[in-house]
């Protein structure tokens, strides 16, 4: 089984978010970049398929040379090969098109992507890859088993979960639950040394038109002061929620 894991290079979850160039660009100054958490759960599940079922695992990122340390980290965790499509990831559709080409060229049976990146939160790349390559698709996936050419997947739905079966090729929009937080792997020294020697192939992008464009960013308006209520006067909170905030 050939698995491709899509790796988005995103600001660490503790990052302060600021913008530059007249609020048109994300300010990367002082920001630590990591593997998108939703992708990391998928990568860790892919490692399980590699170790238990002999799958091969490649990782792909669409981005500039600055994303290579993130791909190397994925190699250090245990992926076999990395591919970087050398272009700026400007739009979910554009990224999906680039990855779809990699999928078709590589003949992958299973593509695992995070359900969304924690920076743009588009939530569109996995589904679009599936639609573009004609593969089956299961989103918000919290459990995945593969037996022969058939996948059994658990999907998180509003207020519960759903189990489904589908033939490969399959694309997964993954998240926490594919593996547990405690299953995530911190690369060890041997993994890091080996990752340096593993192939990282740079591919030139396909010629694709964007469908959307992020023209500007805004930060939420600064928050007013909190209204404190004394713990012996709880009735006041109920009154404020009813009469002032009008939410009950």
């Amino acid at each position: 089984m050939k698995i491709l894991v899509c790796i988005s290079h995103v600001p660490d979850t503790t990052s302060k978010i600021n913008f530059t160039e007249g609020d048109t660009k994300f300010d990367t100054n002082g920001v630590q970049f990591v593997i998108n958490p939703n992708d990391e759960f998928g990568l860790t599940r892919a490692m399980w398929f590699k170790e238990k079922q002999g799958a091969s695992v490649d990782v792909v990122n669409v981005g500039g040379v600055e994303t290579e340390p993130t791909l190397r980290k994925a190699l250090a965790i245990g992926a076999d090969n990395a591919i970087r499509v050398n272009t700026e990831a400007t739009d979910g559709f554009y990224v999906a098109k680039q990855i779809a080409k990699v999928v078709e060229e590589g003949g992958y049976d299973l593509v695992i992507a995070g359900r969304e990146s924690i920076d743009y939160n588009g939530g569109m790349v996995p589904g679009m890859i599936a639609a573009l390559t004609g593969a089956n698709f299961i989103n918000t996936c919290i459990g995945l088993e593969i037996e022969g050419d058939t996948a059994t997947a658990i999907r998180e739905i509003d207020g519960g979960k759903e189990t489904s079966k589908a033939k490969l090729p399959l694309v997964i929009g993954g998240q926490k639950g594919l593996v547990e937080e405690s299953d995530l792997r911190i690369p060890n020294m041997r993994g890091i040394m080996m990752a340096r020697k593993k192939p990282l192939t740079v591919k030139e992008p396909a010629d694709v038109q964007n469908e959307t464009k992020a023209v500007k960013f805004e930060k939420p308006a600064p928050k007013g002061e909190v209204t404190l209520i004394a713990p012996d006067n709880i009735g006041e909170l109920v009154d404020l929620l009813h009469n002032e905030a009008k939410v009950i």
């Binding site: 924690i118 790349v125 996995p126 989103n139 979960k161 469908e211 992020a214």
Partner: protein, 322 residues
């Protein structure tokens, strides 16, 4: 040319989000000088959509569509969009709608913007405001394709009544075997609880509650408010509560009208995930907890004393306002 909107139901009854996306579609239709057509798969009271400005309902009744199936539902919406010549398709932010949207966008050659929080800022170029960086920022996105798919954030627009005469038409799109290559084998859904996605009020507990045995009062508080229960990341990581309750940057996003956090300190990742909620209340014994900076109302006090009193006061309030 009309605006197409996908109105979801649960067991035949429209979800509140269905009325919200209908209200939103109505407002866009007014901007563009056109009408609203809704797609309803197996709902019972299709006329209800007229209250929110839906001019026409394409009602699909097909036993094969009794259980949600993303590929098949996408095909239904695609055919409906083509039939209506729709340029703008509006969907909600439910798990099912977010599943469909990217598939539909590719099949219609439409640009897709998710997590949209307001009406388009302009129709030409078509620009919408959406959340990004997990609610730490907004991003103005221009969609430059002829057709557009818009995913509306829950509770971002609200319900707006605008009653029109609604025409319900039966719609029977041709479906093929290829629409059913993902086979749903079982659905496991708690029917007696409000889900975080659908909830107008969410009550959340953190490490300050000291252990899973103390969640009874969180559930009681949620029950009196008709709220969903949620928890912080450490609580789900320690196994005190199921992962499905974890809200925050790597868990579920919350966009409720009221969010009550009990014993949650307010780590940046947690605040990001719940920031889209309109009114936030924090109950914590540590006045330095970062959550107080993000909250609208706060009580510095022992949760084990405050919460039971709050439940009593809410019960009194409900009795007086029933």
């Amino acid at each position: 040319m009309s605006v197409l909107v996908y109105t979801e139901n649960e067991g035949g009854n429209f979800k509140k989000a269905a009325f919200e996306v209908a209200s939103y579609a109505r407002a866009i239709a007014k901007m563009l000088g056109t009408t609203v057509t809704a797609v309803s798969i197996g709902a019972d009271q299709n006329e209800e959509l007229g209250v929110y400005g839906v001019d026409k309902v394409l009602h699909v009744q097909n036993d094969k569509l009794g259980t949600f199936n993303a590929k098949a539902y996408t095909d239904v919406l695609k055919q409906a969009a083509e039939k209506e010549g729709a340029k703008v398709i509006v969907i909600s932010s439910s798990a099912d709608s977010k599943f469909i949207a990217p598939l539909l966008a590719v099949h219609l050659d439409a640009g897709y913007a998710s997590n949209v929080v307001a009406l388009p800022e302009s129709a030409s170029p078509f620009t919408v405001k959406r959340t990004a960086f997990t609610n730490k920022a907004f991003n103005i996105t221009e969609i430059n394709t002829d057709k557009k798919v818009i995913g509306l954030s829950n509770n971002a627009f609200g319900l707006h009544e605008d009653k029109v005469d609604v025409k319900v038409e039966s719609f029977d799109p041709a479906l093929s075997d290829n629409d059913f290559t993902v086979e749903v084998t079982s659905v496991d859904k708690a029917t007696d609880k409000v889900s975080i996605a659908d909830a107008e009020i969410v009550v959340s507990g953190g490490r300050g509650l000291k252990g899973p045995e103390n969640w009874g009062m969180i559930e009681d508080l949620a029950q009196v408010l008709g709220a969903a229960t949620a928890c912080s990341k450490p609580v789900s990581d320690m196994g005190w509560r199921p992962h499905s309750e974890h809200v925050g940057q790597t868990g579920k996003p919350v966009a409720s009208n009221l969010y009550i956090a009990v014993g949650v300190s307010g780590a940046i990742q947690h605040l990001a995930g719940i920031n889209a909620s309109k009114v936030k209340v924090v109950i914590n014994n540590d006045p330095e907890a970062p959550f107080f900076k993000a909250a609208d109302y706060g009580i510095v006090g022992d949760a084990f004393e405050v919460v039971p009193q709050l439940i009593e006061k809410l019960k009194e309030f409900k009795a007086n306002n029933a």
